[in-house]
């Protein structure tokens, strides 16, 4: 479904992503793990069109998207829960959700009801300004917002960041639910143990390169990974 082929990305003179390739097949949960600064978020930003590759290609559903405009990708079925959630704090919860369905010609109530059914708290707070939500609620809103466009591929950037352990569990449960609904998932995480536990396959990034890849279970049991990322 998503094929990233040997991409190189620069921030000015800094060579941030050095020849990274990976694929996400339909129906999978794929995770990119790695330390802070390894280039995980840069890769997501590149896939979603916020950054450009210098060389290399990105195809989504067989179509080259490496030079597609960011705002056109949502149309094609790509949605993202960005790092730090990036919900619109001054808009109401409902308006945030409506923004998620911006590319849809009409915000169908079915869409909204779906999300409300999944996240009853958002329904309760639908008229509230999003900035007044707690961190966990904001994460739910960001995820609900991304689902409003019924994406084929949902990319999540550090969804567990800054959340209490119980909420992290909840976030991963929701990712499961989205996956069971037929959404393919690309997950970027620093929380390697959670990510590996849920991923079908995973790639390990170090300073802009893929150093290891395998199934979630394989990586979780690898000595190297245990030492570097799982604290054991």
């Amino acid at each position: 479904m998503l094929e990233v082929n040997n991409i190189n990305v620069y921030y000015g003179p800094i060579h941030a992503i050095k020849g990274v390739s990976f694929t996400v097949n339909e129906g999978e949960i794929v995770s990119l793990i790695g330390a802070n600064g390894a280039g995980k978020s840069t890769i997501l930003k590149t896939v979603s069109g916020l950054l450009r590759t210098k060389t290399g290609g990105i195809t989504f559903m067989g179509e080259d998207i490496s030079s597609a405009k960011a705002h056109k990708l949502v149309h094609k079925g790509l949605a993202q829960v960005p790092e730090g959630r990036r919900i619109f704090l001054r808009m109401s919860v409902r308006e945030n959700l409506e923004m998620g369905a911006y590319t849809q010609h009409e915000v169908t109530h079915a869409n909204l009801d779906d999300v409300y059914a999944r996240f009853p708290i958002l329904k309760e707070r639908s008229r509230q300004v999003a900035g007044t939500l707690s961190g966990g609620e904001q994460q739910m809103l960001a995820m609900g917002r991304a689902m409003m466009s019924h994406p084929k591929l949902l990319m999540l950037d550090e969804p567990s960041m800054g959340l209490a352990p119980i909420l992290v569990e909840q976030v991963f449960d929701i990712i499961r639910v989205f996956h069971d609904m037929g959404t393919t998932i690309l997950l970027v995480e620093q929380n390697a143990s959670m990510a590996l536990a849920h991923a079908d396959r995973a790639y390990v990034l170090e300073t802009g390169r893929v150093t290891l890849s395998g199934t979630g279970a394989e990586l979780a049991s690898s000595e190297e990974i245990k030492k570097a990322y799982l604290g054991g």
């Binding site: 979603s48 069109g49 916020l50 405009k69 960011a70 705002h71 056109k72 990708l73 949502v74 149309h75 949605a79 993202q80 960005p82 990036r86 919900i87 619109f88 704090l89 001054r90 808009m91 308006e95 409506e98 923004m99 998620g100 911006y102 590319t103 900035g131 939500l133 707690s134 961190g135 904001q138 917002r145 466009s149 800054g162």
Partner: protein, 300 residues
């Protein structure tokens, strides 16, 4: 005339000029909200709008009936300002989107001088009479209320209601708010950020066009530098109300107008501009976010 009649009269005068300031302040505030630029060329857009009215009412008017000429003048002023605002953003500000704020600010000042001097070069430095038809006054409860004041207040009120509905309810309005809060996040929602910014300039400049018509009906002279002081006062109004806030710009504009007319009413009309800027200084010292502005809080 009793004290109360005088007070009401002055209040209406104040609301008249205040509503024009408010219309102009809205443009400042909307543009600041979306690209954090103090668009110092905004006042000069009003100057261009006034000249467009002048052109229509002096050069086209002889060939058509007067009401038609007035309609043409109004349409030309509003559409002309709209096109000018969008063009300025596209040609001067968009290429600098990723540059430091100060480059953008200096460019805006440059555009302002460019417009003023172009007008002076090609139309001349002397003021031109803009002959919109006179609007009769209305007598009400012993007061003579100028028709211009009623027109200004009514048109501005209508614009504000329209704008509020547009921003709150329409899809483009929501996109505008989303872009002004977080352009990248809006992009990820599928919002075309460039066209949303163009749309914002179009609306802001169209309001300036409406402002130019009201201003020129009240003070029927167009001159190359007329946008300077008007723009500056509207800017103060926008800051007073809370820059970036639409209701703030409305309140700020009306307040500045009323305060000016009260200062004049007590016989200090020489001081009226001084008082406006004194208010700006005091506001910046004690509540820099403005009346409606609130410091943003972020949750992690």
């Amino acid at each position: 005339m009793s004290f109360w009649q005088l007070a009401v009269q002055q209040l209406i005068n104040g609301l008249q000029s205040g509503s024009i300031y408010a219309l102009v302040a809205l443009g400042y505030s909307m543009v600041y909200g979306i690209i954090t630029l103090l668009n110092f060329a905004h006042g000069d857009i009003i100057m261009v709008g006034s000249y467009l009215s002048w052109f229509a009412l002096t050069s086209i008017a002889p060939f058509v009936p007067l009401p038609v000429a007035v309609v043409i003048a109004i349409a030309m002023a509003i559409l002309g300002c709209m096109v000018l605002g969008v063009t300025i953003e596209f040609a001067a500000y968009r290429p600098l989107r990723k540059s430091p704020r100060i480059s953008l600010l200096i460019t805006a000042i440059g555009v302002s001088y460019l417009l003023q001097n172009t007008a002076q070069k090609f139309i001349g430095a002397s003021a031109k009479m803009v002959p919109y038809p006179r609007i009769p006054s209305v007598n009400f409860a012993g007061l003579t209320i100028s028709g211009v004041a009623i027109l200004c207040i009514a048109v501005t009120a209508a614009c504000m209601v329209g704008l509020t509905l547009l921003v709150k309810k329409s899809k483009s309005g929501k996109a505008m708010r989303a872009v002004s809060e977080d352009a990248d996040a809006a992009l990820l929602m599928g919002v075309n950020v460039n066209s949303t910014i163009s749309f914002t300039f179009a609306i802001g400049s169209a309001l300036a066009g409406v402002g130019s018509i009201l201003f020129i009906i009240a003070y029927p002279q167009a001159s190359p530098f007329m946008g300077g002081m008007l723009g500056l006062k509207a800017f103060v109004a926008a800051v007073l109300g809370g820059i970036g806030s639409i209701p703030g710009a409305m309140i700020g504009g009306l307040l500045i107008g009323v305060i000016e007319s009260l200062v004049s009413a007590v016989g200090l009309s020489v001081w009226k501009e001084g008082v406006v800027f004194a208010i700006l200084i005091v506001m910046l010292l004690f509540k820099p976010a403005g009346i409606m502005g609130k410091p943003t809080t972020e949750k992690v």
